[in-house]
Symmetry: C2
Subunit: 775 residues, 2 copies
C-alpha cells in the first residue's frame, strides 16, 4: 500500500539499525493520522512524514531481507515519488479544467439566457435566473450533505491541520474529492458569494492523498486555481505546511510546473472555441499589464489607506464569520441535513434577488467617450464579456455600472474592476452599494454546507473599495497631473483585503503578481500587504487559524507560548499517570490498560542485566490493537519470544488506511484462554523515542516536538552520567565515511554474533537474538 508510506512514521528512522531484526512498522510512532478528538494523544505530524517516508519503505525492504533488492528499491521509490508528483500535477490540472469548464459554461448559459429573455420580460428573466441558480446550489448542497459532508467549506483549515498533524475525519477520502468537484461547480456556478479556489486546493490535496503527497497537492491546487505555479509553491510553503525540506520544495515545484503546462495546454485547445465560454481570458486570469506603469510618492498615502481598510475589513470578516459559524454549529446545523439544504437554497434566492434587483434600481449612465483603439466598447455587445454592461437601460449608448460588477460572473466582475483606461466607469454610490451587499453576502454564505473558497470574494470586496479609493485619487486635487489608473488601486485593494483576512504575505504577493501579470506593482502590493496584515494581526488571527480553532483542529504554532518558558517538562505532564507495560505482558493486562486508558502510546520497561529497571521503548496503541486482533503472537510462556515472529506480519498490517477511524479495543474479542496468554512486545516497539530530562524548559520541549513533528516524548529523570557528547564534527562523516561505515557495520555484526559484546545493553538491542543465545 503505497499511500501508506506517506501517512506513516513521523520519526521513522529510529531503529533502522535494528530494522532487519524487527518489524519496521513498529519503529515509527504513527500509523496514519487518527481521527481528531477521540483520544488524548493520537495526533502526529503528517507533514514530517513527507520526506522521511521512503525510509519506511526501505525499512520494509530490509525486513524482506532482500539486500540486493533494497539497493534498487530506493532509486525505484524515488522515481515512483516523482511519477506520483507528475500524476498529481496532471490530475489536479485536469480537475481544475473540468471545474472551470463547467462553472464558466453554466454561468455563460445562465447569463446568455437571461440577457436573451430580458429583452422581452425582466420578470421572466429574473425567474429563469433565480431558478437556474437555485438548481445549481441545490445540487451542490444536496451532494455535500448526503454524500460528502467533509467537502463543505474551503477545506484549507482542515488540510492545514492535516499537515500540522491533525486529521479531520474524512477530509481526504475519495468521496470528498468527488463531492468537492461537483459541489463547487454547483456553488460557484450558482452565483453564490464564494470562490472555487479554496475547494481546488482541497481537490488537489485529495488527489495527492491518493498518491501520498498532500503538500504537492496543495501547491498544485493553488497553481491550478490561479494559474500561478510559483504562488502555489509558496502557498504550500507559507500557509499550509508546518514542516518543510528543500527536496520537498523541489518536487512541489515540479508538480506546480506540470499543472501550469496542463492548464495552459487545455486553454490553448479551448482557444479555438471548443470549450464554450471557457478559456477566452488567456492564461493570465486578470491581465492588467497594460495599466499604470509607474507611481509617485504622493500615491503612497492613499495606498497605505487601502492597506488599513484591508486590515480592518479583513479582521472584521474573520470575526463575523467566526460568530456566524459558531452560531451555525450551535443552533442550525444540529437540526440535520434538511435545515442545511434549506439554508443554502434560501441564501441562493437572496443572492439572486439582490444581484438582479439592485442593478434594476440603479439609473443607467451615458457611455463615456472612449479611445477608438482601446478595444473597449460601450455598451459591450450582449453575450460577450467586457465592461459597460447594458442592463435595463433605456437608450443604446447607456450602461449600468452596478450590473457591470453585480450582474456578472465573478471573474468578469473582477476583470472589470481591475480594468485600465476606464475612468469614471463606476459611480461611488454603486461601488459602496456593491461593497456593503457583497460583503454581507460573503459573510452569510461562509459556512453553508457547500464547497466555498474565500479568495475570489475577497478579491471582489477588496477591489471594490480599492477602486473607490482610486476614484478619489484620480479626482483629488493633489494627484490630478499623475498617470493614475483606478484599476491599479482595485488590485491593491484586493491584495489588502486578502492580506487582512488570510494574513499571507509572500505567497499572496506572488499570487497577485501572477494573476495580474504586472511585476511593476510588486513593491506596492508588498506595502499594502504589510500594512493590512499588521492591522489585521492587531485584532485577531488569520481566517484559516480562526476556522481551524473553531473546528477543534489544534494547530501547534511555530513558536512556544510565553507561559511555557516558566514551565518545565514535568509540569506539562504532572497530572498524568504514566502506564508502563512490561516487555512480556499478559494479554489480559494489555486489554485492561487499553480499556482504561485513552493514551496512544505506552512506555515498555524491562529488567537490565543487574536487575535494574530500564525503559526499552514505546509501543503504540494501534500496534497493540493489531497484535491483539491477529493473535498469532500470543505465547504461553512469560519469557521473551523467538525470532519467528518476523514472518508472521506484513508491513501493511500496521499501516492504517488514510482517514479511517482505525480500530477500537471494543472491536476485538478474545476468549478467556487467549486472555491468559502472554505477548512479547519487544519486536514491535520503537526502541528509542525522543527523551527529555524532567526539568527541561517546556518551551525547549515544545521546539523539539514541533520541529521534529513528534507524537510522543518521554520525560525522564536527570541522567546519572554522560556516555558521550555529540557535536557537529561527529555528524560530519566526510571522505572517511565509508571506512567508518564498514567498521561500524562489522561491529554490529560482531555484536550480533556475540550478544554480550556491546556491553550491558546488548540484550536490549537485539532482544530476539539475545533470546536465542539464552535458550
Amino acid at each position: 500500500m503505497l499511500s501508506g508510506g506517506d501517512q506513516d512514521v513521523p520519526d521513522g528512522i529510529g531503529m533502522t539499525r535494528l530494522a532487519w531484526t524487527r518489524l519496521p512498522a513498529a519503529d515509527g510512532e504513527g500509523a496514519g493520522p487518527s481521527t481528531s478528538g477521540a483520544a488524548d494523544d493520537e495526533l502526529f505530524s503528517a507533514a514530517a512524514v513527507e520526506s522521511l517516508d521512503y525510509e519506511v519503505i526501505e525499512n520494509y525492504a530490509y525486513r524482506e531481507e532482500q539486500a540486493q533488492r533494497s539497493k534498487f528499491w530506493v532509486p525505484y521509490y524515488i522515481m515512483l515519488k516523482w511519477l506520483f508528483a507528475l500524476l498529481i500535477g496532471v490530475g489536479t490540472g485536469l480537475a481544475a479544467i473540468f471545474i472551470n469548464l463547467a462553472v464558466e459554461n453554466f454561468s455563460g448559459w445562465k447569463y446568455t439566457a437571461t440577457f436573451a429573455i430580458i429583452k422581452h420580460s425582466y420578470f421572466v428573466g429574473f425567474f429563469v435566473y433565480t431558478i437556474f441558480n437555485l438548481a445549481l446550489v441545490f445540487s451542490s448542497v444536496y451532494i455535500v450533505t448526503n454524500f460528502a459532508p467533509a467537502a463543505a467549506g474551503s477545506g484549507i483549515p482542515e488540510i492545514k491541520g492535516y499537515l500540522n498533524g491533525v486529521d479531520t475525519h474524512g477530509i481526504l477520502l475519495f468521496r470528498t474529492l468527488v463531492g468537492k468537484i461537483f459541489g463547487s461547480i454547483g456553488s460557484v456556478g450558482g452565483g453564490l458569494a464564494l470562490g472555487k479556489e479554496g475547494p481546488l486546493v482541497h481537490t488537489g490535496a485529495c488527489i495527492a492523498s491518493l498518491l501520498g503527497q498532500v503538500t504537492c497537492g496543495c501547491a498544485a491546487g493553488v497553481a491550478a486555481a490561479f494559474r500561478a505555479p510559483v504562488g502555489g509553491v509558496l502557498f504550500a510553503l507559507e500557509e499550509v505546511t508546518s514542516w518543510w525540506r528543500s527536496h520537498l520544495m523541489w518536487r512541489v515545484f515540479f508538480t506546480s510546473a506540470i499543472v501550469a503546462v496542463v492548464v495552459r495546454s487545455a486553454m490553448n485547445w479551448c482557444n479555438s472555441g471548443k470549450c464554450g465560454h471557457f478559456g477566452a481570458g488567456g492564461f493570465i486570469i486578470w491581465d492588467i499589464s497594460g495599466g499604470q506603469e509607474n507611481y509617485s510618492y504622493q500615491e503612497l498615502f492613499p495606498m497605505a489607506i487601502i492597506g488599513v481598510i484591508g486590515g480592518l475589513l479583513g479582521a472584521l470578516f474573520n470575526q463575523l464569520t467566526l460568530y456566524i459559524t459558531k452560531w451555525r454549529r450551535t443552533y442550525l446545523h444540529k437540526k440535520g441535513k434538511r435545515v442545511q439544504i434549506f439554508e443554502a437554497c434560501l441564501i441562493s434566492l437572496v443572492t439572486s434577488t439582490i444581484s438582479f434587483v439592485l442593478p434594476l434600481l440603479r439609473k443607467c449612465s451615458p457611455c463615456p467617450q472612449l479611445e477608438t483603439n482601446s478595444g473597449i466598447e460601450c455598451p459591450h455587445p450582449p453575450g460577450t464579456d467586457g465592461n459597460f454592461v447594458n442592463f435595463y437601460c433605456s437608450k443604446d449608448k447607456e450602461y449600468n455600472d452596478l450590473a457591470t460588477i453585480f450582474f456578472n460572473t465573478q471573474d468578469d466582475a473582477i476583470r472589470n474592476l481591475f480594468s485600465a483606461k476606464t475612468f469614471h466607469e463606476y459611480s461611488a454610490q454603486s461601488l459602496i452599494t456593491f461593497l456593503v451587499m457583497f460583503y454581507s453576502l460573503a459573510v452569510v454564505t461562509f459556512g453553508t454546507a457547500v464547497p466555498a473558497g474565500q479568495f475570489v470574494p475577497g478579491i471582489m470586496i477588496g477591489s471594490t473599495y480599492g477602486r473607490l479609493v482610486g476614484m478619489f485619487v484620480v479626482n483629488g486635487k493633489l494627484y490630478k497631473k499623475l498617470n493614475i489608473e483606478e484599476g491599479t488601486y482595485a488590485l491593491l485593494g484586493a491584495a489588502s483585503f486578502l492580506g487582512g483576512s488570510m494574513r499571507m504575505t509572500v505567497s499572496l504577493c506572488v499570487i497577485m503578481v501572477e494573476i495580474t501579470n504586472n511585476l511593476q506593482l510588486l513593491p506596492l502590493i508588498m506595502l499594502v500587504l504589510l500594512i493590512s496584515k499588521a492591522v489585521g494581526d492587531f485584532f485577531n488571527e488569520g481566517l484559516y487559524e480562526v476556522q481551524a480553532r473553531l473546528r477543534g483542529i489544534p494547530l501547534l504554532d511555530s513558536r512556544p507560548k510565553q507561559v511555557m518558558r516558566n514551565m518545565n517538562a514535568k509540569d506539562a505532564c504532572k497530572n498524568q499517570k504514566v502506564v508502563c507495560l512490561p516487555r512480556v505482558s499478559r494479554v489480559v493486562d494489555i486489554v485492561s490498560v487499553l480499556r482504561t486508558n485513552k493514551h496512544n502510546g505506552f512506555p515498555v520497561v524491562d529488567r537490565g542485566q543487574n536487575g535494574e529497571s530500564l525503559v526499552i521503548g514505546l509501543i503504540l496503541r494501534s500496534h497493540l490493537l493489531v497484535l491483539l486482533q491477529a493473535k498469532v503472537d500470543f505465547q504461553n510462556s512469560p519469557f521473551p519470544c523467538g525470532p519467528g515472529v518476523l514472518n508472521r506480519h506484513n508491513f501493511s498490517d500496521f499501516v492504517k488506511p488514510a482517514s479511517s477511524k482505525g480500530k477500537s479495543i471494543d472491536d476485538i474479542h478474545l476468549t478467556e484462554d487467549e486472555l491468559g496468554l502472554y505477548l512479547d512486545l519487544a519486536p514491535f516497539l520503537n526502541p528509542s523515542p525522543y527523551i527529555v530530562p524532567e526539568d527541561m524548559s517546556l518551551a525547549k520541549v515544545y521546539n523539539l516536538f514541533r520541529q521534529l513533528g513528534l507524537r510522543h516524548i518521554f520525560v525522564v529523570p536527570r541522567p546519572s552520567r554522560v556516555v558521550g557528547l555529540i557535536t557537529r564534527k561527529d555528524l560530519l562523516l566526510e571522505e572517511d565515511g565509508n571506512t567508518v561505515m564498514s567498521e561500524l557495520q562489522s561491529t554490529s555484526v560482531r555484536g550480533l554474533l556475540n550478544g554480550k559484546m556491546l556491553g550491558g545493553n546488548a540484550h536490549l538491542e537485539h532482544p530476539l537474538l539475545d533470546n536465542l543465545v539464552i535458550e
Copy 2:
C-alpha cells in the same frame, strides 16, 4: 550590545524558568559562532538564532529583575528588529545603487572613450581600454589582498556556512564590507568575466550582520542585485538558510520590499540624467516582455536540449572551478599577496586583449532590414546602448556581431542576447567563439582574489548557447511557421546554465521572471531548470556546496547520510573521552582540562540527595574562559556559592563579538594562589541540554541536531523510568492557559521557598537557593 543578541544562544530558551536566579548568557550554548577549524565542536547554528534571539534579551531583562520593564522590553525589542530590517533594506539598497552607479559609469566612460579614440587609432584605443581595465582590477585586487582578504570571491558559500552554523574568519567584518563594495566596483568595472550579484549578497549580509539579521541581508542583497524582491526572499529561503520560520520570512519579505522601494526611487531620480550612465535600463533589468508570447509543443524538444546543455556545462563549470581553485590554493596563493595581485592583473590583460582583438578579427555584417517602428537602429549611434555595434567596420551600414556581445558591458551584452525582433543578428560562428572564450575566462577568473559573482557570467554563457539553439530552431524546417524569438531561447539558456551550476530551483525561477518581466515563460523556465538541475546533480554538487566543502566549511545536509541509519548515538562518540567537571571545581583542574582538551562544552556533574551521581548541565569553554579571566567568582571553599554571584557579571561579558577569534586559554594568566581556589559552575551552566539515549539511531540524532540547530547533545544511558509522556495535547495550552500558568507559577514559587518540595531534584533546580537552605 544588540548585535550580540542575534549571534547568541541557539537553544537559548532552556533555562528561562530559572533565569532570574542565573546568568542568562550561561543558558545558551553559544556565544557567537567560533572560528572554523580551531577546535572540534565549536560550531553552532547561527541560523537557529534568528528568531529566538529576543528571548535571550528577555532573559537578560529577567536577570535585571525589572519585571515591569520586561513587559515593555519584548514589544520594544520586536520594534527594534523591524527598525533594523528597515535599516538593512535601506543600507543594502544604497550600497547596491552606489556599486551600480560606479560600475556603470566607469564602464560607460571606458567604452565612450575607447569608441572616441578608435576613430583615429585602434591601437591607442586598445591601449587605453586595457590600461583602464588594468587600473580598476589592480585597485580591486590591491584592496582585497591588503585590507579585506575575506572579501574575495562571491561570499555566498561562506554566508551559507555561517547560517548553517560555521563561521569563516572575518567574513562579516566591517572591513570586509568596505573591501567588498570597492573591490567589486573595480573587478566588475574592470571588465573581468564575473558579476556583482554574489558580492552584493555578501554586502547585504555584512550590513545586516552589524544589526544582527544576516538572513534579511542575504535577501536584501539579491533583491538589490536583480531588483527582484520576491526572488530575494526565496533565495534566502532556498539557498542560504538552513533554518526558517514564518515570522522570519515575514521580516525578510519586508526588507526586500524596502530594497525595491529604495532602488526604484534612486532609479527614478537617475532617470533625469543625474547619474551619468546609470539607470537608463529601468527597474526591470532585461525586459523581454515584448518578446515571444506563446510556444508550441514542438518547441519543447529544443528547450529540453537547452536544459541538458545547461546541466552539462554547469556541472563542468563546477568541476573545472573546483580543480582550478584547488590548484590555486595549493600552489599559487601560498606564495603571497604579490602573486595574487599579479595573477589578477594578468587575467585582466588577457580578458581585455581577447575582448578587443577577437571582434577585430571578425568580419562585419551588413545591417538587416529592420522594421521602422521597432526602435532598433543599425548600427546604433556611438555612445548609446543597443544592438548592432559598429566596431572596425568599413561601411556605415555594417555592424560587428561579436563586438555587440564581447566588446560591451555585460548588462548590455545580455540585453542584446535577450533582445527580440533581431533575427539573424548573430552568426553561429560568433556565438560559438564567444561561448568558448567567455566560458574559459569565467573558469579562469573564478577564484582570483577579487570580489566575484557567478550569476552574470552564468547568464552570459547560458544565453549564448540558448540563442544558438534558438537560431537553429528559427531556421529549422519543422519550426518555420511558428512565432519564435531567439531572445526567448537565450533567456532559457541563461536559466538552464544557472540551474546546472547553482542547482537552485524556485528562487532562480522567480529571479529570472523578475529580471525579465515575462511571466508567460514561467513554465518553460521551470522545465529547463528541472532538466538542467537533474542533469547537473548526476555529476556533482551545486557550485556553492562544492566551494563550501573546498573551503573547509562543513555544511550539514538537510538529510542524514545513509550510513547513519546503521549507527547509533554511542557509535558516533565512541572514541571520545568524556571530560566531566564537578559542580565546584578547582581552578587548576579547570585550567588543565581546558589545556588538554579542545572540546567546546563540558558536562557538569554533582551528587544527588542520596549521593548518586547526576548530570546537572553543560558548561561552555568560552564561558569558562570568561570566568577564569574575570576571577571574581573564585572562592576559597569547595562548597556551592551564594547568590551574590548574580551581580558580578554583565550579560555582555559572555557575548563574543561577531567574527572574532575569541579568547584562548593561553591568554589567561593565573597566579599559583588563584589556581588553588575553587569555582562553582552551577550559576553559569545550561541546566538542560538536549539528551538522547545511547542506542538511538544516529540518523535520528542527526535530525534532532540539524532541525534544532544545536551544538551539543549529551548521549546518556537508557533511562530507568519514565516520569511522564508529553503529547500534542500537553502542549496545547489553549483557553485555560492562564489558569495553568498561574497554578504552575505558584508551584514554582512554593518550590523556591521550600527547596525540598519538588522532590529529590529540587536542589538541582535551584542550586543557589538550595545552598542557602543548607548553610
